[in-house]
Symmetry: C2
Subunit: 142 residues, 2 copies
C-alpha cells in the first residue's frame, strides 16, 4: 500500500485516532459534532481511480465507521463525503449530524465555528473504537 | 426495488435525466457547475442501511457517473457526497469542480447563486449520457 504522508492542513485540524486496515482514521478537532475522516493508503485523489478491491475496502470502512458514529453519538443523519477541493489528498468525511447540532441543517464544510476536544474525550473515543471495531482498529499512542 | 416518489424539493430544483439500473439520474438545474444526483430505488435514507448488493450497485453508478462528468466537462476535482440533512430521501451528489467555477473551493451545498440550464444544454447532456453509458442509461422523455 502507498505510504501516507499526512497533508499539513489535515495534520493541523485533525487528531490521529489510529489505523484501520486500509485507512488511517482521523478525528476533526471540533467537539461540536462527531466528525471522522478516513484517509485511505493511496496516492490517488479520486475514488474512481482506486482499483475495485480498494474501493471495496474503503466502502467497508465507511460502513464500519458509520455504524460506530450512529451507535456512539446522538445523531439522526450521517453525512458521507469525498470533497478534496482544498486538501487534494483523498479523504472521506463521515459526520454524524443532528437537528440539535451547531450548524444543522447546513453542511459542516466551510463553517468557521469549532471547539477543540479535551484529551479525555479523545481517549474515550479511541477506547470505544477499540472496543467496537476490535482487531479492525489499531489505536494510535495517546 | 422500492418505487421512487421524488421528494418535492428535488423535483423543484432538479431535472430528470433518466434512469440507471439502480438509480434515477437527476441534474441540478444550475448550469454554473456540472452537478448530478443519483436517486437510488430504495426507501432507506442511509447508505449503511442498504444491503451489500445495493451498495455495490450504487458504487458502480457513482463510478459510471464520475467517469462521465470527468470526460464531458472541464473539471479538475470530483465531489461525491451523501448528505440529506434537508432532503432525507437517499441521494448521492456527483459534482464536477474546477478552480474556475463559481464557488471554488467552497462546497456547492448552501450556495444561493445559480443559473438554470437552456433546454438545448439538457438535451445535449442526455444525448452524451446515452452515448457514453449505452444500455446502462434509459433517457427520460425530452
Amino acid at each position: 500500500m502507498a505510504k501516507i504522508e499526512l497533508d499539513p492542513m489535515l495534520a493541523r485540524d485533525c487528531l490521529i485516532l489510529g489505523e484501520l486496515k486500509f485507512s488511517r482514521l482521523l478525528l476533526m478537532n471540533n467537539a461540536l459534532v462527531p466528525w471522522f475522516i478516513l484517509l485511505p493508503h493511496t496516492d490517488k485523489t479520486e475514488i474512481i481511480d482506486l482499483p475495485e478491491s480498494e474501493q471495496a475496502s474503503l466502502l467497508k470502512e465507511i460502513n464500519l465507521l458509520s455504524a460506530f458514529v450512529r451507535e456512539n453519538f446522538k445523531i439522526s443523519k450521517l453525512n458521507i463525503a469525498a470533497i478534496g477541493n482544498i486538501v487534494s489528498q483523498l479523504h472521506v468525511h463521515v459526520v454524524g449530524r443532528d437537528p440539535s447540532d451547531y450548524c444543522w441543517p447546513n453542511v459542516v464544510w466551510g463553517q468557521s465555528e469549532g471547539e477543540p476536544y479535551a484529551l479525555e474525550q479523545v481517549k474515550n473515543i479511541r477506547a470505544a473504537l477499540a472496543q467496537q471495531l476490535g482487531e479492525a482498529f489499531s489505536r494510535a499512542p495517546e
